[in-house]
Symmetry: C3
Subunit: 486 residues, 3 copies
């Protein structure tokens, strides 16, 4: 057997060293001379607009406790599956990136940081690199590119910076200019951190929860029965029957609304929903709960429960955000060792036209109902999502998300949807971040790309510059507020 | 229950007022300085070429009677589902847009027009806005953007203009420079308007019918039996048997050909066709007609009948235009109240490679047969349509159509197909319009975009400017004439 | 019946004549003034880097024998299905293009050449035209565009040139600067030509075989039993049992490795693989071989055999190149007359996320295993391939291939994958050629496009010019060497 031959030496490998880190003032703006000036002016008008953050994965406890970040690996590498996945693809085992493996110690953070810096060129061209360059430079004060040679120096510099008060979470919230930040929370969560913040007189920010019930709806999961029990405990409602589960979910939604939630969020494998008669739903629930159902019946129950979410949204007004079309934990052995969200969730072809029809026939023109549709399958942008948002008043176009939350992908999204749905059926940008420090950089990227996109239309005389300025401002302020009812 | 919260105030909402309407001379041409000059020269050579219109939805009676248009709402808003769909998405019920609802009066046209003008910013970035700006400016003489403030003034100005002889349908036909206009007609239509025009010595235009038999082929529709009866009456052939239906369709095709038709047009849900043995087809027909067939059998019969259309095309030479891949009347309640073509037809993923294989094995290299393939699913442009048109002499690439009949989508189409199929396997542009006044604007948009596309290739030294000029002229003259046998 | 009406006269048809052929020095580079200078500098640094050719369809015997090419039709038209398919689409029967039909003589080469030259404008905008212009100008010394008027003159000029020693295959190999050339070979091939070259002291090139076992894996093909017998004869192993077939395949792989092979290549209809228990596989094999299996069982066996290829790759280290997603011989009558690879292989929608999951769970993180994934379905670039290559160290992104091996398609590929997977998970360019003379032109096209793509990122301040230069060099040297273990 010939084991893996060594990789050919790269041109890049010979270089490295100490090169300056200088994000350019005009980065991501169009290079066409007729467009760049317009883009600059548009961008200048929106760069400092307060950040509306309707979807992300920041822990409210981070702000409630305001604990300092510790080191660059824990801040920028280990918790970010955008970063760890590509390092893994370049041959670094996840345990060497600080991920705790079942039955093994994680690597020390300085080693993690070195592994990352030595492969910094692997991120060239990725959205992640752009965010990281901005974070390193603008937030952490770094002026050198990461490399094998600079790894230790940067590690020490960043660790020192993180100990300063200006880089604690609440200070960053303020210096980033965040207007509102939605977290993503388990329905059984008591939301104590949200309450702590709301009741803290020294805190003037707005941090709201989002109701994310995936594990209670996924009737095929091994831990679904345990999840039902946890929900029962949290709601003090017996969840051993279908009406009980529905009542518990309704109760927890009310709890979330009382704590400021305006939306629910769902990551089903596909967006299909079912609307069974109550007796049929109960019978199906009982069958699944007794372990007597096949995969199809489990899936049907999951779809029925997602349909209940739509029904509840039409009643309580929580916006239904759908993030569908991913095969989670593609590489089972990695999932078993390191858990979920470890970089091997892979998108799937997705369909909305038929899948959402029954739901939209019920609730699509109901003024109380609103949904925001996200996809990882670009092919539905022009074919399905823009036409749906171009008719149903309840349907908003979600921003390009995950794998597509990058400059060129964002342009393709605008190209694909705007000519059918215009600019006022979109839900604006979401940062969807797991890294607090990247929030400003992500919004800034989107504002640059949107400014450039609109500048291209101004230069082609499709829009006036005044119209473009209004649209750009609305994209980053009124649209997400309207779509998510913030 | 929290009913729909109010939308956040938009930057745009604060503005409005009286802004000039001035479509720019260079609109939609590339902004790159090396490309724009070339694009201008190319566009100048093709801007006044007579319009070839092989597919659209103009009523021949409009030209036969030459009745004046009445008011801007009836001209530009109510009959155009591109316009009403987006207004509906922004919360305007269809009855307020002049659509006659079952059991309710439609809004007066001035109210419709006001509702439209107040939401003019919702069309920013859409293809519709571009067409409307050109129509308003070039055809109707409007010099102000629609807005809440200008709505009444524009209503009066346009209503007055429409009463002038230069804006009657025949005058517009002439001033637009239309060479040939194909309508879309029911096979049971007696085509009297087409004959009126053909026999009118004062009329020198060319208006030809297109055979559109959808309702006679859709064996799953509730009104299919009634349709068969109507076709029997029109053809004087008993359609209660499969051979009878086939004979009646053949007779009506002959009638259409005698009145100038060169093509048939089909809007099946997918392009699949069946070719059963005659006895099997008869048996299937009888079963469906007796109401004893399930959905699969109904679909099979529809596919068989579409297959008959291909067979007839190979015999009588009518070009088979396939407009497939749409789920009609997505929102059934709206369909029930307002009928079809009311803005909620939503595209579906489409497949051609396998679906058309049996048909192309039969007729694909038959010189009498020609087909033009349209799609709303961009993914098949490079993957299926260009390769098919790049081998089969009978297959022509239909222009980007509906939802895709917009500048950026047209560029994506050219990008996706030209490198495989070149420029001489395309069927040119179709305006597909329901608004007579928009015909010139739509062709002009396509010519600008095509000029810009070719200019980019000239600037990249892929084509010479002379080759590009020839290609551009052919795209808008020889290609549609050849593909549709005009 | 109205037979095919004559095509409308084209603007192009009126022209023709004697126009100069002058491929521009800056062709395919971006036209944006801020980008072109950068692109030129990047391109200059890579234009003369030795060509790495890990996949193509050159016959090793061509180099072993070093026979001169005879005439322009045999060199540029008849063997190239890119060329013949488009001429066929323009109404030229394949027999008039020199393809030997069952029971009929092929046209003489001068007639073939005339048919091609008269339709030279049909290739405008295609990738093929770009390659041909470069070949004609740079390799064959032609200075006039092909046309009806120049056909005979060019025929004579090229035929004369081909007789010169500088245009014999070995001389071209050297003047093209080829570093390594992989051929595509039948497992039963004795590889005598590869050995001849390896043992020839006067030859310093590197020509290596690729193991391409399609016909032995396709259990649904009519000639599969005969193929098994041939493989048995070549390996001297009884292939009438499943273990025998597996052993024979392993033996042939060893033979290929001993002759320099580093990869296997597979053109299944889809990339799905099966991993049955040995006893089940044997039972299935026996059933299929006895002719007692239905289509589903045949397909399962084919997938099982493809799974064996992956397993063997994980053991012997041959890189598994997957070229899937084509419906071969779409037009059966043409296939029956002219055989395969005659221009009517049409791409199919393809799926990787689920299809490859079981294989990647087995081998995806095995350091001995490597795979390169190719597709004709652009929709999987961003949705599936980049995410897979962005996690699995064994997965490399294949270059855009066939129908997509053209400038704009290459840019779409880079746009779609780079933001997720960066530049260091790609397998570089493959020329995939059947025409020896086109090798340099194809690599040059890719280098120009990649230089332009990277220049756009430099101009947008996403990369530094130094980083871009490193990336470009690696794309055309280190990456293909690493991905294909050359």
């Amino acid at each position: 057997m010939s084991t893996g031959t060594a990789a050919a030496p790269t041109a890049r490998a010979a270089r490295g060293g100490r090169t300056p880190l200088r994000p350019h003032e005009d980065r991501l703006l169009p290079t066409d001379p007729g467009q760049r000036g317009i883009a600059r002016r548009l961008y200048d008008q929106v760069r400092d607009v307060a950040l509306v953050c309707p979807h992300g994965h920041i822990d409210a406890g981070l702000l409630a406790r305001d604990t300092p970040f510790t080191d660059p690996a824990a801040l920028l590498v280990t918790p970010d599956h955008y970063v760890t996945r590509l390092l893994h693809a370049h041959g670094v085992p996840l345990e060497q990136l600080g991920l705790p493996a079942a039955g093994a110690g994680a690597a020390p953070p300085r080693e993690v940081w070195r592994a990352f810096c030595a492969r910094w060129h692997c991120f060239l061209g990725t959205a992640t690199r752009g965010w990281l360059e901005a974070e390193l430079h603008d937030v952490l004060g770094v002026r050198l590119q990461p490399s094998e040679q600079t790894a230790d120096e940067l590690y020490d510099q960043i660790s020192h910076a993180l100990a300063q008060p200006g880089l604690r979470p609440r200070a960053l919230y303020s210096s980033f200019g965040i207007a509102v930040l939605a977290t993503t929370d388990d329905p059984a969560d008591d939301l104590r951190h949200h309450r702590t913040l709301a009741e803290d007189p020294s805190w003037s920010g707005r941090v709201i929860p989002t109701f994310r019930p995936d594990r209670y709806l996924d009737a095929a999961a091994a831990d679904w029965p345990a999840a039902l029990q946890r929900l029962g405990a949290a709601s003090d409602i017996d969840t051993s029957s279908y009406p009980g589960l529905v009542a518990a979910l309704e109760a927890r939604r009310a709890h979330f609304r009382a704590n400021g939630a305006t939306a629910t969020d769902h990551s089903a494998r596909d967006p299909r929903m079912a609307f069974l008669a109550p007796a049929d739903a109960s019978r199906l629930f009982d069958q699944v709960r007794r372990g007597e159902a096949d995969a199809a019946a489990q899936r049907l129950l999951s779809r029925q429960l997602l349909g209940e979410m739509a029904r509840m949204s039409a009643e309580d007004g929580l916006v239904l955000a759908l993030h569908t079309g991913v095969l989670r934990n593609h590489h089972t052995p990695t999932g078993a060792r390191f858990g979920g969200d470890t970089g091997h969730d892979i998108p799937l072809r997705t369909e909305f036209t038929e899948s959402l029809r029954r739901m939209l026939q019920r609730f699509g023109t109901n003024p109380a109902f609103q949904t925001v549709l996200f996809t990882l399958d670009e092919t539905v942008f022009s074919r399905e999502l823009a036409p749906l948002a171009g008719f149903y008043p309840s349907v908003y176009l979600g921003a390009p998300w995950w794998f597509l939350d990058a400059p060129r992908a964002m342009r393709r999204f605008r190209d694909a949807v705007s000519e059918t749905a215009g600019f006022y059926r979109g839900a604006g940008f979401i940062d969807d971040t797991r890294g607090f420090c990247s929030i400003a950089a992500r919004h800034d990227t989107a504002r640059r790309v949107d400014a450039g996109y609109l500048a291209s239309l101004v230069a082609e005389h499709v829009l006036t510059e005044q119209d473009a300025a209004d649209v750009l401002h609305d994209m980053h302020d009124a649209q997400p507020r309207t779509a998510f009812r913030l």
